[in-house]
Symmetry: C2
Subunit: 395 residues, 2 copies
């Protein structure tokens, strides 16, 4: 029986984050806080900084771990790398790109957007064309646009951009991606990548994790105080050398929890290369299953789809509120729509972290089974050839 | 026996924060994260916002709970209430006032400082004189200057300032104070007060809690993106009305933990009035005991001293590193000096949260007993009339 560890009475959080967290991560978060200069904590923090390099596959990138939500990542990039009048190119695939345009504008950037039609990934040709008109100081791409479950082709865009503008700063919003979707910071010559702890890094919300290239480090000119990276850099360097230091009190519990979770990513789950492959399979299996159910995806199924989450239109005859409420009664918490243009017309499911990497828990089978029941309950008629209750990979 | 609940094998964190946290607070922090729009979480967050008003004794103040360290409080005040060229008056009693001057300057304020001699509280007459020269848009006072354990007289300064400049914005850095030291937001007509979760609010680090007066709200003109209060306000208002909303993903676990801890402050410990009295007694008892040991305080013992923490000079013949290391072996973690002028010459002990409000735990007796042993071990000779191992209040 494939639902070995699944407990149908446990409520599963299957949204694009926060996600389900490993028991050892939660235990770390619930332990008595150590002093931020405790030798044990200093060592854990130092090790965590090193782990972050391994997660994004960089040798020379500089990690920063800051107390704040993922949104602080937008600010850390914009407020440190942008000066008034700088030109920035934003690949706009939805809600979170709008946010970055707002943020860059706040710090004085002149923003040009390459907009994709709703649900479609960034058009590389359009970005190339814009870069030829350029020049831009900064190019911003969202790895997984979590408002619509779009997965952008960071590799192709980054390599193309670097060829056209060798000194451009390439920034990746990795909020629903980093720790799960393929990201090669050094090989793709990325300059900034950030995420929030509560997504594929597998830790409760409250930490923002940022990595900057040495190229980006040379451009730091802070416009704020709290996210001033010239203040954070000596702290990160000190902890990595296993020396305590102080600018702000770090979120000690969350940092210890991050250490536990990244140890799982890098060791228990077999490292990033293996995770990249697993996540691609899981993303594709989930989309295949959804399509087999006779549902329509918001973003296309192959290239251009994210593997950490999926956005799905409600069938025409299904009431969204009724469906999500039925799912909740089946102990599966899923998310509603977020993109203003179609907000009430679709829902989003998250499939990352332990729900993806520990299949023996049966989370995704529980999710699929609940979708089957609830869709039927809400009046959806499945295609004749749909075989329910199959393990994901065996469809 | 007064050390009822004390376990000499438990390491006690008795620094100015993070502090020892209640088991129920840690348990809340270690539970599986809820969705930020889960009805249960929405209710908890809404209730927490209401609790914050009760903690600072305001009816009309607007609370904000943001993911970040206490330092984000400096930024939230400066970046929202200050415009380039605005004049600000900072009462400078040490390290954290220097930080606020830096932060205000970053956002364009012209800062005037009223500096106190090392270890002395703000001189009200000097502030009054500066205000008469004014005018200033903002007056900044630190409630507890935790680099030196100074407790400033917020009431007298705030009331005097309001008389001289009725429209001045009075800002209180409550980082080592709020939740323990007497603060009457409405009665003293304060405009901004903030703290970090890991101090007297009794929650692991990662939340910044800010309250603004309606007067201050009218001055908000954000200079950043992440701490832009015009973005946070609708979120706080929505949650208080028990409706989910989104700008950043809140630090769900920490917010739930804050709810648990503030419930203890407001209900289990008998409310703020009782806590104010208890904390004054504990602060005075601790200083009396330290003086009885023949030690010298960094700040004076009565008026001008903080009640949440105490800064103490090492006796001349005692080596600071050796003493702190001996204390650690006695399972009491204390803090070294922080103020650059005397950093190696003194140590700091924290006595707030459960260590102060749950005397049955015997934390402070364990601390005093450890100090007695370790000081003796390090060569300190106690005054002839010193009676060791007495409960704090019975000296």
């Amino acid at each position: 029986e494939f639902r070995k560890m699944s407990d149908p009475n446990k409520r599963l959080l299957l949204i694009p984050g926060p996600i389900e967290f490993h028991e050892s991560v939660l235990a770390a978060n619930g332990r008595q806080t150590l002093s931020h200069v405790d030798p044990g904590f200093i060592n854990t923090f130092g090790e965590t900084i090193e782990q972050i390099r391994s997660v994004v596959l960089t040798e020379t990138g500089q990690p920063f771990v800051m107390s704040g939500s993922g949104t602080l990542g937008l600010e850390a990039v914009a407020s440190n790398l942008i000066q008034r009048g700088d030109k920035a190119l934003v690949c706009n695939t939805g809600y979170f790109a709008d946010a970055m345009t707002d943020c860059l504008t706040r710090f004085g950037a002149e923003v040009t957007e390459v907009k994709s039609p709703l649900g479609e990934a960034v058009d590389v040709e359009a970005v190339v064309a814009a870069l030829h008109v350029g020049p831009f100081k900064l190019l911003h791409i969202i790895h997984v646009e979590s408002s619509l479950s779009i997965g952008n082709d960071i590799e192709t865009i980054a390599l193309a951009a670097r060829k056209i503008q060798p000194e451009i700063l390439i920034c990746v919003d990795g909020v629903c991606a980093t720790g799960a979707e393929e990201l090669r910071f050094d090989a793709w010559d990325i300059d900034a990548a950030f995420t929030g702890s509560q997504k594929a890094c597998g830790v409760p919300p409250g930490l923002m994790i940022l990595v900057l290239s040495q190229r980006a480090m040379k451009h730091i000119k802070p416009q704020t105080y709290y996210s001033d990276l010239t203040r954070w850099l000596p702290i990160m360097q000190a902890y990595e050398k296993r020396v305590g230091s102080y600018f702000c009190t770090p979120s000690v519990n969350l940092v210890v929890a991050l250490n536990v979770s990244l140890t799982r990513l890098l060791n228990v789950y077999g490292g990033m290369e293996k995770i990249f492959v697993t996540m691609k399979t899981i993303g594709q299996n989930m989309r295949d299953r959804v399509l087999a159910m006779g549902l329509k995806l918001v973003s296309p199924s192959g290239k251009g789809a994210s593997n950490t989450m999926t956005s799905i239109y409600y069938p025409d005859n299904v009431d969204g509120g009724q469906f999500r409420s039925a799912m909740s009664k089946h102990n599966c918490i899923i998310a509603g729509g977020l993109h203003p243009a179609i907000k009430t017309k679709y829902f989003r499911i998250g499939h990352m972290g332990i729900s993806a990497l520990e299949p023996e828990r049966g989370h995704l089978e529980q999710l699929v089974a609940a979708m089957e029941s609830c869709l039927r309950e809400c009046g959806h008629v499945f295609p004749k050839d749909y075989v329910p209750s199959q393990p994901l990979a065996q469809l």
